[in-house]
């Protein structure tokens, strides 16, 4: 069997090119891999379109300012929205000092020994623990052992443990961007470790740390499973008034509505999702803007 003679063509520069099966395979590969990249993004657009289309009849200001109800058309997300806001503020208040503190310890103080390696390995593994396991920990530790009950405080503490690895990793990255010369300059001027950190290093990488914190909050805001596990209520007709008060949150309210068979409640779920996505995407956009401004500010 003889191979067919190759087709010879001239390209734009007039150079002879042999058209072969190889070129065809290459083009198939590029096409397939581009499709593999574009298809998931297309699916994401379909998802956004589907949710937004479903939600349209319920997207009203009333929806934000009403309490949940047995009548789907009157039900709103006020307690869930307030609950989520409270959770986020509390979670941030707990995660930020601990997460940044741990990052500072690992980057600035820890010697290269077994203990710091253990902490690093441990944090990497914690980042991979399924979120529902944190729910089980929160249930036994915060709800039962510390007797905080099924409260806002227990919910925020659980979420805080969940996003701690994200804040630690991001803060370490931020600390690593500060050049050694800046640190040494501070020490040379007589600053101790603490003074150098609090006056020079941390203020310099604060925007970077803040980016990590915002991304962590964007993750925490959508977490449902751990809050269900610690027993957050799915039907709340009042606003939380203290740290110990029972609560619900946006994703839980959405889950509650999705779980009902009636399609009117599915409409409510879609509207709740739109609110959730708007808040989450806003947080992400702020983080990206912050990162871009940061890259412009310090040029070494």
């Amino acid at each position: 069997m003889s191979t067919p003679p190759p087709r010879v063509e001239r390209d734009a520069l007039g150079i002879e090119r042999v058209k072969s099966r190889r070129d065809l395979f290459d083009r198939i590969l590029i096409g397939t891999s581009l499709a593999a990249l574009v298809l998931p993004l297309f699916a994401l657009l379909v998802l956004f379109g589907d949710v937004f289309g479903d939600a349209l009849p319920r997207l009203h200001w009333d929806f934000l300012s009403s309490y949940p109800s047995r009548h789907a058309a009157q039900a709103g997300i006020l307690p869930a929205f307030v609950g989520t806001l409270c959770l986020m503020v509390l979670t941030a208040a707990m995660t930020v000092p601990i997460g940044i503190g741990a990052a500072i310890y690992l980057e600035e103080y820890a010697k290269q020994n077994w203990f710091s390696r253990l902490i690093e390995l441990n944090i990497a593994n914690l980042a991979g623990v399924p979120s529902i396991i944190y729910g089980l920990l929160g249930l036994e530790l915060f709800v039962r052992a510390l007797e905080w009950g099924r409260s806002l405080l227990a919910g925020a503490a659980t979420l805080s443990l969940l996003v701690l690895p994200i804040v630690i990793l991001a803060s370490r990255e931020a600390l690593r961007t500060v050049p050694a010369s800046v640190r040494e300059a501070a020490w040379a001027l007589g600053a101790g470790r603490w003074a150098a950190l609090s006056r020079v290093i941390v203020p310099m990488c604060l925007p970077g740390m803040l980016t990590g914190v915002i991304l962590a909050m964007a993750r925490a805001i959508g977490e449902t499973a751990p809050l269900i596990t610690i027993g957050a209520l799915t039907y709340v007709a009042f606003l939380p008034d203290s740290l110990n008060s029972p609560f619900t949150a946006l994703p839980i309210q959405v889950f509650n509505w999705v779980s009902r068979p009636q399609s009117e409640f599915h409409t409510n779920a879609a509207a709740g999702i739109v609110v959730l996505l708007v808040v989450m995407l806003t947080l992400n956009a702020v983080a990206i803007r912050l990162r871009m401004r940061l890259q412009k500010r310090y040029q070494w």
Partner: protein, 302 residues
């Protein structure tokens, strides 16, 4: 460092306070892990005192909430493995090819745009994916797949796959990008096309990093909760049929948490026994993945 300070005088108290405060923050993460292990093991201990491990591993029914109680983990395990397998079947080829495009063919500008876009997929809350699987994908699939129930393993599995694509793509892309350009140029110089270069040279050189991304994807799928809790039906069934309602380990924990099972009962402890299994499975996969990734950074030039 304390040596240098001692030339001038004693380390001031503020330095010592700061040092210990940061140490406490760093050590806290170890207490979190210890807490997880303690809670899961102590509650599971109570569970296995009442239910023999042989029944747990031998029985083929899981009905702790019914009058006729059976504690066989297999229905939950097959449910978890089934949805994970479907998710992997979607995420592995898609993620790998997306990584190949980003690393081998995309212009720097396209990379800069497409990578964050892909990250959005990973950031969408999982209840949203659950809603999408239940109200959009399942009705769509019911037109194509005969006998597909309203709750099934197929639809949440596919949606979970979509969710995992960015994890597989991003880590695989790092691995492919780390392959030295000289290897590609060598292949081109020998007359290989892009197809041959990619699959005979670049992918084999990055295989441990790609493996790490795949394993991490599996771990994510096993631990994923809300998609399956919403769209798979919460019915523990020993089956590998993707068209019928099933329950995963995670969905079972959610189901018990939503009910009012009294504390201290065997039914209550089941969620910790299931949680321990879940924790061990994901831990092994995560450790495997990070050891593969370390091999990548240690021996990049192979």
């Amino acid at each position: 460092m304390s040596k240098d300070v001692s030339i001038i005088g004693r380390e001031p108290w503020s330095e010592r306070v700061a040092r210990s405060a940061f140490l406490v923050c760093g050590a806290l993460s170890i207490f979190v892990t210890a807490g997880i292990v303690f809670v899961l093991v102590s509650q599971s201990w109570g569970f296995f005192a009442e239910v023999s491990p042989w029944q747990f591993l031998g029985d083929t029914q899981w009905t702790p909430l019914f009058a006729d109680k059976h504690y066989g983990i297999w229905p939950l395990l097959t449910g978890t493995l089934l949805t994970t397998a479907i998710a992997a079947a979607v995420a592995l080829p898609t993620g790998l090819f997306a990584a190949i495009y980003l690393s081998e063919f995309a212009t720097p500008r396209a990379r800069q745009l497409l990578k964050p876009a892909l990250e959005v997929l990973a950031g969408v809350p999982t209840v949203v994916y659950g809603y999408f699987a239940l109200t959009f994908l399942t009705p769509l699939l019911q037109r194509v797949v005969p006998g597909l129930a309203g709750f099934n393993a197929l639809s949440p599995g596919i949606v979970m796959g979509l969710m995992i694509v960015p994890i597989v793509a991003s880590l695989s892309e790092d691995a492919l990008f780390a392959v030295p350009p000289s290897l590609r140029e060598g292949a081109y110089a020998l007359g290989a096309g892009r197809l041959a270069t990619t699959f005979r040279v670049v992918v084999p050189a990055a295989v441990s990093g790609i493996g790490a991304s795949v394993i991490l994807g599996f771990s994510r799928a096993i631990g994923e909760t809300m998609v399956v809790a919403i769209a798979a039906g919460q019915q523990p069934t020993l089956t590998l049929d993707p068209r019928v309602p099933i329950a995963t380990m995670t969905a079972y924990i959610v189901q018990v948490s939503l009910g009012d099972t009294p504390t201290g009962t065997t039914e209550y402890r089941t969620i910790f026994a299931v949680g321990l299994g879940l924790f061990l499975m994901t831990l092994v996969l995560n450790l495997l993945s990070s050891s593969l990734r370390r091999r990548l950074t240690a021996g990049g030039q192979s």
